[in-house]
Amino acid sequence: MTTTKPTLLLVGYGMVGHRFLEALAEAGAAARYRVVVLAEEPRPAYDRVGLTSYFSGRSADDLLLAEEGFTDRHGFEVHLSSPAVSLDPAARTVTTAAGRTLSYDTLVLATGSYPFVPPVDGRDAEGCFVYRTIEDLQAIEAYAAGARVGAVVGGGLLGLEAAGALKGLGLETHVVEFAPRLMPVQVDEAGGAALRRTIESMGVVVHTGIGTKAITVADGRAVGMSFTDDSELATDLVVFSAGVRPRDQLAREAGLAVGERGGIAIDEHCRTSDPHVFAIGECALAVDGRVYGLVAPGYEMAVSVARQLAEQAVQPFTGADLSTKLKLLGVDVASFGDAFGSTPGSLDVVYSDSRSGVYKKLVVTAEGALLGGILVGDASAYATLRPLTGTGRPLPVPAESLVLPAGADTAVSLGGSALPDDAVVCSCNNVTKGTIRAAVTDHQCTTVPEVKKCTRAGTNCGSCVKLLGTIVADELEASGVEVDRGLCPCFAHTRAELYEIVLVKRISTHRRLLAEHGRAPEGSEGCEVCKPTVASIIASLAPVLEASGHILDGEQGALQDTNDHFLANLQKNGSYSVVPRIPGGEITPDKLIVIGEVAKEFGLYTKITGGQRIDLFGASVDQLPMIWSRLVAAGFESGHAYGKSLRTVKSCVGSTWCRYGVQDSVAMAIQLELRYRGLRSPHKLKSAVSGCARECAEARGKDFGVIATTNGWNLYVGGNGGATPRHADLLAQDLDDEQLVRLIDRFLMFYIRTADRLERTSTWLERIEGGLDHVREVVVEDSLGIADELEALMARHIGDYQDEWAATLADPDRMRRFVSFVNAPGVPDPSIRFVPERDQVKPDLVLLATEEQLLAALDPDNAPFPAARILEEAR
């Protein structure tokens, strides 16, 4: 009975509170307790670490940590907007702001911290903000709309993040830091200087070494600030980011032990001075006398308490690594281990290039063991260097070779093989290299996603994913698992590599590619995998290769899957379906009538597709040309439903009719569909355009989705529906028509060039190194210098486009294949027959059950066409 279960009360549902609930479920203890959660905020736990991404398009919903149904599935009772206001440890009760009193057997406090606002005059004026919750960001966003200048008090990690956000909101941005340099906790003077130079070059004004005296207020609004050096600054908006303080009020007032400078005192098992109460996360004061303001130590505490409640053995929590790697205003900054060289006898190895804003310092012992370091501007070595820190063993290569820029003669970058087994690779989830190796050797994981799932490594900040990849690959190789990246038995190359080969060597046939670059024995046919893949590569490069663009010509005709071969979609009984293009889903009544007439005349089953068009099922091979000559005459063209190519660009009705619409989504959808029609790609491509943020066209479930804003268009990429749904990520915002089209051109061509066979944009985006950031750099910022080339390729595709069906009908050579039987043209296939269902037809599968069934149906008495006689006549 549920009432006999002990009650476990969690106060505070932030990042650490959520990790605690997860860990409780993972430890199998969720059902042992009645779990009640009191949350102050109006929504369940969200990714506070990623809070700033709210400004780059991640909505409040996207930031939520729990997958849908998480709390229900485990029977957790969550009360949102219900802060606890008092605690009575003797009675073991907690009272909420609404006056409700709850009893508990065990209490877990995970109340986090609050932003510290220095006690300066005017700090409560309108226009003063802090930076901690989604509501804070929404308020800043709204206020910034009417502001010109913004200032951030505090030049630490959070302050710089807030400054980046203000800059992104279009404000003239100032950062005011009391210490003589930026990020005083993480970086040294030279590192701070490198950071400052880069940030200033982006137009953020940095003031260091001065304190804020007061906020100047007029009419209740902030209008400026005055400083300890008597200088002043006019500003419309102020964000305080001067550190955080633990939220220990509940515990303090209840008489639990708290630290002198705040924080709920806990022992090494996270127990407070009351044995029934635990405290975890940013509100807790650990035994080493520190309050940890990072998420990883909080997670460690959460897991520890959950395991104790599940009666499992745990490690004591005595302290944690404060290493961090961040991207602030686009600058990489990492700090790890003894970053300031405070260990007696430690030595520095420094590389500094103020032109490129790169500063790297490694702190080592006299014997060459790594103690810590600081990386500014290029933190790519962080993932391997951090786990090597503090191991006491000398580095495998001279430290100086590790700080040189890549490309320098003696520069070295370490892979996973340099790490000992006890090195922590993922510090967010405390996963060692040994655990990762075991995932491969003992748990049969063979891919990085599998290892991530099995070990949780790389699932938080992601900074270790690349390193994870090298460890997994090494381990697979060592355990004898051949990691064959080849496309198929015939080619040792991936699809992307073959694309480059075809492009560079101008190879226009599969046969030549196989002979020159294949691994199959001479005279090989190739196979059903490489033939269509190579055909698709050649088709998308046809204009450059000066090969025929039509997919039924020459050797191309022999490489295509049956769908491409007959320009229609094969269905289970051997018949085909036909989908004419209906760009943007817009169709005239006259065209609708033609589709109806054709379907009726040929006895086709009709169904509306998810992509806003009409699918006609049940055509035999010999009917296809007749059907299409009717459709082409009425102005239809191929919808490419059969190809790995652009399917549809769905649209909502947009500003023309909808009272909410802010742009003409239908016109844009039609423009995009006509632009990219017929484009052959590694997998099908879907798109949609919505006329406003209500998103009726579901554009974020598409490979490329466009959503209207009052200023233009936002472009999202990498979305997917189907079995593995994924919301598309924002690539760029507020684009005009021309910018939008240019970015899509580049994005699609870059995808076509680099994706694997049958890899949708969603998996591609998650697989490729650097992920979305890398794609944005290449597509938006042109970091590889290939944007012109990508655009030119697309321009040639568009210039060369022809309707495949119209071209086929016009060419007797191509038409010859559309017969059911080569020895009896005009004779329909007797195995394709239908039975009625819901006033339409469906395949007669009984006929296909055995050969005898078909032959019996062909008996002269009941068959419409005795085969032998027809063959006789055909001759």
Partner: protein, 115 residues
């Protein structure tokens, strides 16, 4: 392409003896065509990249559909030439009729020649 008097023809052996299929030139290397036999059965006839000729049943035993002629040809690393069903992609050895993905399944092989 028009058939000339000298063009070779492809023929297939069935219960009714050798019957003509089509001109050799009509066969595209790596692809197949479907043939209706006098008793109502169907055969799939293929020409591979080395100009060898094969004929097997057109019926795909996994789905019952008469579609094997529309599959793509391939060869294994030890040189066995096969057709992959266009529906669920099972592969059938064109010389023996054996299914390469399911030992227990086999399709009939027909004799074919070009004359």
């Amino acid at each position: 392409m028009t058939a000339t008097a000298t063009a070779t023809r492809v023929e297939l052996l069935s219960a009714a003896g050798w019957s003509p299929v089509c001109d050799w030139d009509l066969l595209v290397p790596g692809r197949g065509v479907a043939v209706l036999l006098p008793d109502g059965r169907q055969a799939a006839v293929f020409r591979d990249g080395s100009d060898r000729l094969y004929a097997v049943d057109n019926r795909d035993p996994f789905t019952g559909a008469y579609v094997l002629s529309r599959g793509l040809l391939g060869s294994t690393s030890d040189g066995r030439v096969y057709v992959a069903s266009p529906l669920l992609k099972q592969r059938f050895d064109l010389a023996t009729g054996e299914c390469l993905d399911d030992e227990g399944v086999r399709i009939a092989v027909h004799a074919a020649r070009s004359v």
